[in-house]
Amino acid sequence: MPDWLLAPTLLWMGVFFFAPLFLMLIISFASRGTYGGIEWTLSFANYRALADTLYLQIYFRSLVFATITTALCLLLGFPLAYHIARAPARWQGVWLILVMIPFWTNFLVRTYAWIFILRTEGLLNTVVMGLGLRQDPIEILYTDAAVLIGLVYGYLPFMVLPLYAAIERLDVSVVEAAWDLYASGWSVFWRVVLPLVKPGVIAGCLLVFIPSLGAFITPDLLGGARSMMVGNLIQHEYLVIRDWPFGSAVAFVLMGMVMLGVVGYLKLSGRKM
């Protein structure tokens, strides 16, 4: 393909991605004006302010949430992806559509639906108490658990699809060969299946980890006051407090964390960038 076909994309990325990003970087060194504007100073004050325990806790909590979300998605997604990839061809399509159906509805609406399910008088408690399993309702909405449920729900398809693609390419006879060569089910999985679908696992984990680290709708709607994640902090700084310079600094530190995390993860899993 001729190189000039890249030009529109590069132009688009340059104008609408790199330029704003660069602008944000500059803003992150500025300071907030009295009425919410930007005062063009050059200081590291915003970054220094981030070293506060309060903010470090938010970053840490975000990391923990994103890690747990990724792990849960992998645990839930792998059997599902395996099942789909090994189903007869005509069922694979049906299963994949079922996995993707949630995308047909707005994410905000779907997160609201979780409120109706999880709240005290919601679907979950109606069923649980109706069946007599519990006397008093489960108070789960506005807790960390609700945020995790929402995150896992939201990002599970991003785990399932790359896993499916990798498992579907896996040669069944290679798996059978391991079984034939005295490997138990467990050994077949660890020694043959997992190494061969590793690219799918890596892709799925990145696709879940990165957006869930910066998630803000889910913790905002399903989480309590103590469940704030970095995404909420950035939103808060930009839209509520109108401190764009500080918000930009928060966002850049997040970006740095993601990049370090991704590079480290790829190094650990033995892959070149």
Partner: protein, 362 residues
């Protein structure tokens, strides 16, 4: 060679309504090279998968080394399968592939190293231990697959179309080599193939399979010279048939009356009576062509018209019309003599000995 190491007793395996294996009973002896020969869809791969443990019989029993295999999963069976497309582990080196089975059984590192080295020497792959499967040629991959099975010294080595993915020349070399390896290691080999030449070259015994049944089991010579049915005869490469009725029987010889042809003299092996319908099967390379009508020491001489003459380098192949509904093929070695060349539409006499044909009772 000893007693049976593998026994199938009245095994049935169906997929939906099709019976891939249909009331099959077989005994395979210790130390023999046993081939299962059949067209695709004859159930031979299913049979192999039943032995490896990937499939379970709907009915009947599979015994290996005197143990009933009904509930035994593949990883606990004393057999190893060489897969049709090798199924090498792409993420492991040649060493890793061959060592896999030993590692799974907890063999010591020291022993693994020496046994893998010995297995690779056996298949002439010494020095390629650190290669990955993608860095190997097709023939080399095939050898790794073989070494990966042999290194475990299983009671039975199962081979699924082992030479199917190789080119013609390599295939012929490997036939001889595979048989040599089997004789050296002294293990029982069960090989599935649709290639009759391969089965005849390598095997101690052959089973010809069709539609889930074993039609004939015997040595290559028995199957080749005395096919038990028209299907076996056809599959083993006989293209010439005559169908007629038995006119008379004298001892081991009989005469057969075929419409529009002279009476045929043939040797029979019992089971026929006067007036019974039989087929005579004859191999294309056992026919002798001549312009003379006399028997010249042969038992039969039947006139035919040359319908097609195909130059095949080392031999000439003629299609001969014996009558309106009988078309035969004859193969004549190309020895360079002019009197053995026949032209299109020429009338020739097809001569053969009574001993050559096989009588098949319809």
């Amino acid at each position: 060679m000893g007693g049976p190491i593998v026994e199938l007793r009245d095994v049935v395996k169906a997929y939906g309504v099709t019976r891939a294996v249909d009331h099959l009973s077989l005994e395979i002896r210790q130390g023999e090279f046993f081939s299962i020969l059949g067209p695709s869809g004859s159930g031979k791969t299913t049979l192999l998968r039943l032995l490896a443990g990937f499939e379970r019989p709907d009915r009947g029993e599979v015994w290996i080394e005197g143990r009933l295999m009904q509930e035994v999963p593949p990883n606990l069976r004393p057999v190893n399968l060489v897969f049709q497309h090798y199924a090498l582990f792409p993420h492991l080196t040649v060493f890793g592939n061959v060592a896999f089975g030993l590692e799974m059984r907890g063999v010591s590192r020291h022993e693994i190293v020496s046994r893998v080295a010995a297995a690779l020497e056996m298949v002439r792959l010494t020095g390629k231990q650190e290669r990955t499967p993608t860095q190997l040629s097709g023939g080399e991959q095939q050898r790794v697959a073989l070494a990966r099975a042999l290194v475990n010294r299983p009671a039975v080595v199962l081979l699924d179309e082992p030479l199917g993915a190789l080119d013609q020349q390599l295939r012929q070399e490997m036939q001889v080599e595979l048989k040599g390896i089997q004789e050296r290691v002294g293990l029982t080999f069960i090989c599935v193939t649709h290639h009759q030449g391969e089965a005849l070259t390598m095997s101690d015994r052959v089973a010809v399979m069709d539609q889930g049944r074993a039609l004939q089991v015997g040595s290559p010579r028995e199957v080749y010279d005395r096919p038990a049915s028209t299907f076996v005869a056809n599959f083993i490469g006989i293209s010439n048939f005559l169908t007629g009725s038995v006119d008379s029987v004298h001892g081991a010889r009989c005469t057969i009356r075929v419409p529009n042809l002279p009476e045929i003299v043939a040797r029979h092996r019992g089971g026929i009576g006067e007036g019974g319908r039989v087929s005579l099967a004859l191999r294309p390379e056992r026919l002798h062509l001549s312009r003379e009508a006399d028997l010249n020491g042969f038992d039969n001489a039947v006139p035919a018209r040359v319908a097609k003459a195909i130059y095949g380098g080392h031999e000439m192949q003629y299609q001969l019309r014996l009558s309106d509904d009988v078309l035969w093929t004859a193969r004549v070695p190309n020895d360079g003599t002019v009197e053995r060349r026949f032209a299109l539409d020429e009338t020739v006499f097809v001569r053969w000995n009574a001993d050559e044909g096989a009588i098949l009772v319809e």
